[in-house]
Amino acid sequence: MKFRIAIAIAGASLFLAGCASPPQQPIELAGEALATGAGRLGIAMTKLPKVDTHLPGASCLLCIAVAAAANSSLTAHAQTLPVEELPQLKNEVADLLRKKGADVTVIAEDLNFETLPDSASKQPNAPPKDFSSLRQKYQMGKLLVIDITMLGVIRTDSAYVPTSDPKGVLQGRGFIVNLTNNTYEWYLPVSITKSTDGKWDEPPKFPGLTNAYFQSLELGRDSFLKPFNK
């Protein structure tokens, strides 16, 4: 009986592992990615996430509740932090690209991946979503997307126990997708964490962590702008 259970667990693990797709690897920005031969280049951002406290590793429901309660004053402060000029990032990238001679259009509305169909392609550097419909919609050949997925403060946990001090965090990715063949031509994962200088536990305003958050914000912006500043 125990042997059958073990076989069943092993089989389920193999099945699930087979379903998992490998993470997208970074792709260097080559000159061809900005070539205007394929049409205009659109620049869009997804909706910025709420500035919040993130507690990865608190994996059970009770763990999440305990971690949330223990960090409630930090969360209350984190949620008041501004995003500064982050929404203007797409305009800053557009300015840099125009200096290089690219024909660029900034898309005003936030891009929502949920409205896009899934991509059936299993080719390398194929995004999980099919962006090709945007070619007709925006009349452009390529789309540069800035997708920020996490903002605020991060503190890793292992079940009920915090395994790090809270740190400022900005995570996301930037990519250029060719709307003709729905393939990435540039892909940059961005993950910035900044620890506090000295103590972190300074309620109610947490000045050290606030500073770390703004440092993450600036370094994150720099990461997205750097490839286009060369």
Partner: protein, 333 residues
């Protein structure tokens, strides 16, 4: 005992354990270095007595980053042994082990960072605090008399200044950073802190092909002199604020960029004053920082080039009378 009561006790115990583990014991204490509220404290030309520290040895360390510190978020299964008490004990044990690992990791990171000081140990061992303070006092220009007093000596009818300096050398060895906790006592109340401020001064980076050779040349004269300049400047920054008092209107918060060695640093703060290649800012914790800014061609006038390092004492002005450079200030993000 029904299952429902058991779950409630388990939840309460775990919540209590987590609150105990996760909150700092110092939640009620002020962060060291945040100044007490001050009006204009010091007169224009205060007579100062600088207290010699009890420790002969000056603290030097390597600049360290704890950005990658932490022991990860690996999952764990608690043993279901001994019922609720057993699980509670397992959580506490887990927490103690993790805290120990975190503390040990940070200590190791600092130890690694401190290895940058190995070539300087002979120089630092011959640089006592008395020498540092003597040199610094000669550089301080605040008007009034200045003298050193022993650790147990009475300051007399002067403003007593106590300091706790810690110097850090950047990993590229191009700059020193001083963190100095400065306390000032009134002449008529030498045991009550009238003003306290954490001041950080970052040296303008040196572009030396042989940094060890530069800092250790002539029995470490450059290292000693620059350390004293930083110390003197930290006193002048604190004294300037103590003289001026709080600003008439609250300045707005901004993000500043500056060079710490060859690395660009970012600080969210309020601008206090700026001149040529250096700005003084007030951090979110209320401390003061004097940092070099990025030099632009517009600010590369002779006056700014001369002040490229820590400003010489004669160039330091009080905040109200600070001359605004005629060239545009360095761009700040």
């Amino acid at each position: 005992m029904t299952v429902r009561w058991r779950d409630a006790i388990y939840l309460a115990a775990t919540l209590a354990a987590s609150v105990l583990l996760c909150t700092s014991a110092s939640a009620n204490a002020n962060v060291t270095g945040i100044a007490k509220a001050t009006s204009r404290l010091l007169p224009q030309n205060p007579n100062l007595s600088l207290r010699l520290p009890k420790e002969e040895k000056i603290a030097y360390q390597g600049v360290v980053s704890f950005d990658q510190a932490g022991t990860g978020s690996a999952g764990i299964l608690y043993p279901a042994v001994g019922g609720l008490v057993g699980v509670f004990a397992a959580v506490l044990t887990h927490a103690a082990v993790v805290e120990g690992a975190k503390s040990s990791q940070k200590s190791k990171l600092q130890e690694e960072a401190d290895k940058i000081l190995e070539p300087y140990q002979s120089v630092l061992s011959e640089f006592p605090a008395k020498d540092l303070l003597h040199r610094a006092l000669d550089k301080v220009s605040t008007g009034g008399t200045k003298r050193l007093v022993g650790s147990l000596e009475e300051p007399g009818a002067t403003w007593l200044v106590e300091t706790a300096p810690v110097f850090s050398l950047t990993q590229d060895q191009s700059a020193l950073v001083l963190d100095n906790l400065i306390s000032i006592y009134r002449p008529d109340a030498p045991t009550v802190v009238a003003y306290q401020k954490a001041v950080r001064v970052v040296l303008t980076p040196k572009d030396e092909s042989d940094p060890v050779g530069y800092w250790t040349a002539r029995q470490g004269e450059n290292l000693k002199d620059e350390s004293a300049s930083l110390f003197a400047h930290s006193l002048e920054v604190a004294i300037a604020e103590a003289k001026a008092g709080p600003p008439a209107s609250a300045p707005s918060q901004k993000t500043f960029r500056y060079a710490e060695g060859k690395t660009e640093r970012i600080e969210r703060a309020y601008l206090v004053s700026e001149r040529c290649d250096r700005i003084v800012i007030k951090t979110l914790r209320g401390g003061l920082m004097s940092v070099p800014t990025r030099r632009t061609s517009a600010s590369a006038s002779d006056a700014c080039v001369d002040a490229a390092s820590v400003p010489k004492p004669s160039a330091i002005k009080e905040r109200e009378s600070l001359a605004v450079p005629t060239t545009p200030p360095p761009a700040q993000n």
